[in-house]
């Protein structure tokens, strides 16, 4: 129990530091974050720019005469109440954009991670057990090459081959524009089909790196004395392979799994942009392109929170499955 309280306090400190970092970064960016919105308002309502800027400041809840400290307190206060700010480009609260985008990102990431992890674990353990044989060399070499491919290159490749050339996959989006979201089989089918591209682009390099880590861990565990002792006790190979080798080799990977999901919340900006997939990464890319400071800050904060929550989950899961952590 003590362990969790410690971890929680630690992550709280990390949270404050990281979020403050986001604030300082955005606060020190050149230009007025309301500038873009003010230009838009001035054009729309045909009014003076100064007036429009004032309106824009009000809409975004910015007081240009405020001190940095007051702004910081306001920002933190808002965030703690779950208010992620205002997007000038989309003219809506960031919370709304997150509500719209997060499910897509979580959907793609969790599926991609689940698929790549399951296959990677299996391939890695298999390769380690065939160490030195041709099949192991083949798997490890391929995995090393694939691991090095950046997901966005793969995304372009998939888009070109499967969508443009063979027309097997849709060109982009999360579902066809002419379809109303519903729970019908045909709609779900379309959603899955649209997710194939982003999932593959994210999952393939990941799978390769899971394979390599699992292979290394398995090979290491296989050298352990407790494996030989299990053989001496006459245990069946299948029991040794699962309860003794795989369980121990997988432990460190489960922790990286949770942290990885946290990082990927914002890490797939390019993949989502390429597939025009309306997830967090897509909006993140957009916010950078149009200099939407409000959206940028909001999404940044979300990613920070995501990583911190994932780290905590990782610690928790690790302690749950590894008695060495819990008991120390």
């Amino acid at each position: 129990m003590n362990y969790f309280v410690n971890r929680l306090l630690y992550l709280l400190v990390v949270f404050v530091i990281a979020i403050s970092g986001v604030f300082v970064l955005v606060n020190n960016m050149p230009g007025d974050p309301a500038y873009g919105l003010a230009v838009y308002i001035a054009q729309q309502r045909n009014m003076q720019f100064e007036q429009a800027l004032e309106i824009a400041h009000k809409m975004m809840g910015i007081d240009p005469h405020e001190s940095v400290v007051t702004r910081y307190v306001k920002f933190m206060n808002n965030l703690l109440r779950g208010n992620f700010g205002y997007s000038t480009f989309y003219n809506t609260s960031v919370n709304e954009i997150i509500a719209r985008a997060l499910p897509w990102t979580l959907f793609v990431i969790s599926l991609a991670t689940f698929i790549s992890f399951s296959i990677g674990i299996y391939l890695g353990a298999f390769a380690a057990q065939k160490r030195g044989k041709t099949i192991d060399t083949l798997i490890s070499t391929l995995a090393s090459i694939i691991q090095a491919i950046p997901p966005f290159i793969l995304a372009v490749l998939i888009l070109f081959v499967f969508s443009v050339r063979f027309r097997l996959l849709p060109l982009g989006g999360a579902y066809p524009v002419d379809m109303e979201p519903s729970l019908s089989i045909s709609f779900i089918g379309k959603v899955l089909l649209h997710a194939v591209g982003p999932i593959l682009a994210v999952a393939i390099p990941q799978m390769a790196s899971w394979t390599l880590s699992m292979r290394g861990n398995t090979a290491q565990v296989m050298e352990e004395d407790f494996i030989r002792f299990a053989e001496m006790r006459g245990l069946a190979d299948s029991v040794i392979a699962s309860k003794y080798i795989r369980n121990n080799a997988m432990l460190p990977l489960v922790a990286s799994l949770a942290i990885g999901i946290g990082y990927m919340l914002g890490g797939q900006t390019l993949v989502e942009s390429i597939f025009n997939y309306p997830g967090i990464g897509f909006y993140f890319g957009k916010a950078i392109a149009v200099r939407d400071f409000g959206l940028l800050t909001g999404l940044f904060s979300l990613i920070v929170i995501g990583v911190i929550v994932a780290t905590f989950v990782a610690d928790f899961v690790y302690a749950l499955i590894d008695p060495r952590v819990k008991l120390k």
């Binding site: 352990e224 004395d225 407790f226 030989r228 002792f229 299990a230 053989e231 001496m232 006790r233 006459g234 245990l235 069946a236 029991v239 309860k243 003794y244 369980n247 121990n248 432990l251 499955i321 590894d322 008695p323 060495r324 008991l327 120390k328």
Partner: protein
Amino acid sequence: MSIIIRVEDLRAVYLVREGTIKAADGISLDILENSVTAIVGESASGKSTIIEAMTKTLPPNGRILSGRVLYKGKDLLTMREEELRKIRWKEIALVPQAAQQSLNPTMKVIEHFKDTVEAHGVRWSHSELIEKASEKLRMVRLNPEAVLNSYPLQLSGGMKQRVLIALALLLDPVVLILDEPTSALDVLTQAHIIQLLKELKKMLKITLIFVTHDIAVAAELADKVAVIYGGNLVEYNSTFQIFKNPLHPYTRGLINSIMAVNADMSKVKPIPGDPPSLLNPPSGCRFHPRCEYAMEICKKEKPKWIRLDGEAHVACHLYEEGRPLK
């Protein structure tokens, strides 16, 4: 007493980058039923290799070149893997030297007992398992309730060693082999384990074979002592005879090098020279470069394993030529 395990001309090597390590070179040994046999030798003399080759549990780079290990008339070395798997632990249990890392760190002690039982198709209910495991743990003077629900990291080194022994006794094996049961432990825990093995010997009908570099431990526990030098067996005799009248020059050196608390330091004589490299062992008798009685023939010919009167076996040219050590 009848012979329970007969080892005939066992040869085992380890393959390493530099060549082959000839760790057990032509070992022949009869183990008597319900006796305690100690295999004594310096570190890296091939002691562990003998027992691991006997049970076919050598590390991956170990190879058995020749020999037979007869147990109840069957050769363990040529037996089918599945048949051997069933004999392991149920009839012949081996407690390895690395007791500290021999338990799965992510499993509770009780689970080790459970999967051992399951591996041998023994149908015990959970309460039966707890009962039997507790009985064995009490036998090694551990508190069953506390230990069974512990993870290995919660146990001390001595406790882990005793858990392994309890685990080895679980299925009431006929033969229990222990590799350095007392090394890597502090002196008090060592004394504890020795005491424990003595009690087991009295309590159970069991054949004990143990490997040690500590000839004092052998004197304490064993009925018979086999002395190994550089991968060769050099002497095999009853413990009493080994200490009273060591036949081989190496055995004599070994006994002279024991330091008792009240010993006269000037009488303690270390054996001159270094243990041989098993990668390129000396020609002839492997002990000849360190032997004060070495003759011309010792450099050329490997001495035969000969039986003298009684239980005594020795491999030394002095005895082949009828010029025993005085």
